[in-house]
Subunit: 357 residues, 2 copies
């Protein structure tokens, strides 16, 4: 039994199940080291693990999967699961209700009987929230590479360049320099587009009165970075710079609250207070941040309503923002590791107010 499977095992009694069926490809990758688009990992409370996948992956799985046994899925995947459960004395099987479509869940329930199946949420995600040293090293690499990408495109920010030209150049740079994949479609927003937190990068050309907001990330060895920087226009009203300073102060206030055993809601609350005090309370329209790891959005969420506490080994984004609809937005996003002593800001790009160009 691998260390990660053991961690999941220990939580099963608390969920009142004898076994867990993991069907989310990212969770299966985390637990077995193996990438398949059609994986089924069965873990029993007694510590037994069985990995099932289809013929496209079975040869590689037999060599690479870190589980006690590997088996080929039959034509009916859930019948194979039912067969695998025979002789394993499982009275109640938990399954990932947020990662299985209703149609597939109905087939599972049909194969096993409704009384045997218990929908669960976030079992593996809770374990994934606390990173091991190797995972943190991969996130650091992803951040370093992303930062090189950002520095690479800085000289290209000249009046007339298009948002999508910058995005494509940044993406090409990180891929050509060793990223496995992009974390998400890069957001490059010039001027009013920056006021939309999920702006779709487009064909707008840069003007010398535009702020430039870039939100980007890349996977390295599976693990992701997630960063945002806002660059100010060469010519701007005083209030734009002031707004930037408010966001930077909110960022510092949030980071000051990140340490083991702190409430998960504390960093958001601290950042929001700074922004509210400056009169922009209504303009910080999203939560402070989220965990990153194999996924770019994972546990723990960092909203003001989040329950529970922070733990050493969590890696979080801290991304306060102020958005003035139709005019401009400012967001600064860093990636922060919770350490035994407090926290470490993993990203190193400067955060002071500075113009592009």
């Amino acid at each position: 039994m691998t260390r990660r499977i053991r961690k999941v095992c220990r939580t099963l009694a608390g969920h009142k199940v004898d076994a867990l069926l993991v069907t989310h490809p990212v969770n299966c990758r985390y637990l077995t080291g193996f990438v398949s688009s059609n994986p089924y990992l069965l873990i029993t409370a007694s510590g037994d693990s069985l990995f099932l996948t289809d013929s496209r992956y079975i040869e590689a799985a037999e060599k690479q999967v870190e589980a006690d046994a590997v088996r080929l899925l039959g034509k009916d995947a859930f019948k194979s699961i039912a067969d695998a459960l025979k002789g394993r004395r499982v009275r109640r099987l938990g399954f990932e209700a947020d990662h299985l479509s209703h149609a597939r869940a109905l087939k599972l329930i049909e194969a096993l009987g409704a009384r045997k199946c218990k929908p669960l949420i976030g079992v593996v995600e809770s374990v994934r929230a606390v990173k091991e040293p190797g995972e943190i090293a991969a996130i650091r690499k992803a951040i370093r590479l992303s930062e090189r990408g950002f520095r690479h495109i800085l000289p290209l920010l000249r009046p007339g360049v298009r948002e999508r030209d910058i995005a494509i150049e940044l993406e090409f740079f990180v891929m050509a320099n060793g990223a496995d994949a992009l974390a998400f479609d890069t957001i490059v927003a010039f001027g009013p587009g920056s006021s939309v937190p999920h702006h779709a990068t487009g064909r707008r050309r840069l003007r010398d009165t535009d702020v430039v907001l870039i939100d980007w990330g890349a996977h390295v060895r599976g693990y992701t970075s997630d960063l945002t920087r806002t660059l100010l226009p060469p010519r701007m009203p005083r209030r734009t710079r002031d707004m930037y300073h408010v966001v930077a102060a909110a960022r510092r206030a949030a980071i000051a609250r990140i340490r083991p055993r702190a409430r998960r809601s504390a960093p958001d609350t601290a950042a929001r207070r700074v922004i509210e005090a400056a009169g922009h309370g209504e303009r910080f329209t999203h939560s402070l941040g989220h965990g990153i790891g194999l996924d770019v959005h994972e546990q723990p969420g960092l909203s003001g309503r989040a329950k529970g506490t922070l733990r050493a080994g969590m890696v979080l984004t801290v991304e306060p923002g102020i958005y003035v609809p139709g005019r401009l937005g400012v967001r600064i996003e860093d990636d922060v590791l919770v350490t035994p002593a407090g926290c470490e800001v993993l990203s190193r790009l400067p955060t002071h107010a500075r113009p592009w160009g």
Copy 2:
């Protein structure tokens, strides 16, 4: 009511529901023209349509969505759906059981009552399978751009180049020349990697005894291409060239069977017969093809077990292959439009046996 929503409306009686809740973002985009990661589109059999989304998208949705009404989702999305149904006299609501997680489906059922909810599969997908002229035009554009990308990387195929260098250059080219997005991670396989239909592009360097298999696609205006070409090694045994000719003959046999009212299974059967006759029956390990459109895999599937018939306006991949595990694979993939008179091969890259370099 838009034409596409009307098409869906007409099918609802056949599914024995008074209304349909569409939650799959791609299906919502198809029906309303609007891209949201959190869309809910309610369509009643009487022809009424209501689009709901969250605060991130609501402003844009109110301007752009092609539906009778647009409403902001409340904190509990399914309660908003229940509210919307009040006064709409819906006794039975179909929902997309393959696009809603079990966890979300349970919330829907809790909000509406189990008797009111009917899980359905493929309702919108069946309508999407037959393309309109504008959709076919977008697919043509995606194919043309993809073909330019392929020609762009041909001169780079020299001994020593890495698989991922070729993939990144191809992807950068299509993005820089107007693609919205890539269709999937480009497969570039040198030598033995080509024997794995879902090869993960890696760091292998090209050798002059390697076949080169490239499977790639790009979205333009939302619509995708999906193509594969296999280039032969400069130095190769006779049997490699023979294998290529078998795949090319299977491709021709399949295309000859594509016309309106033909059985969906006929092209696969025809291609498989050619490959079996050449003694490679066991080595054509996947089905012949699939529909393409907003998704790179959509209706109709083109396997030997497919039910139903082809219709004019369907756009299909035809992708026979022969795979010798651990040694090499050959696949040729084209995109084919079913026309009233028969079919048109939309892709134009040559398919005759030719070496790289």
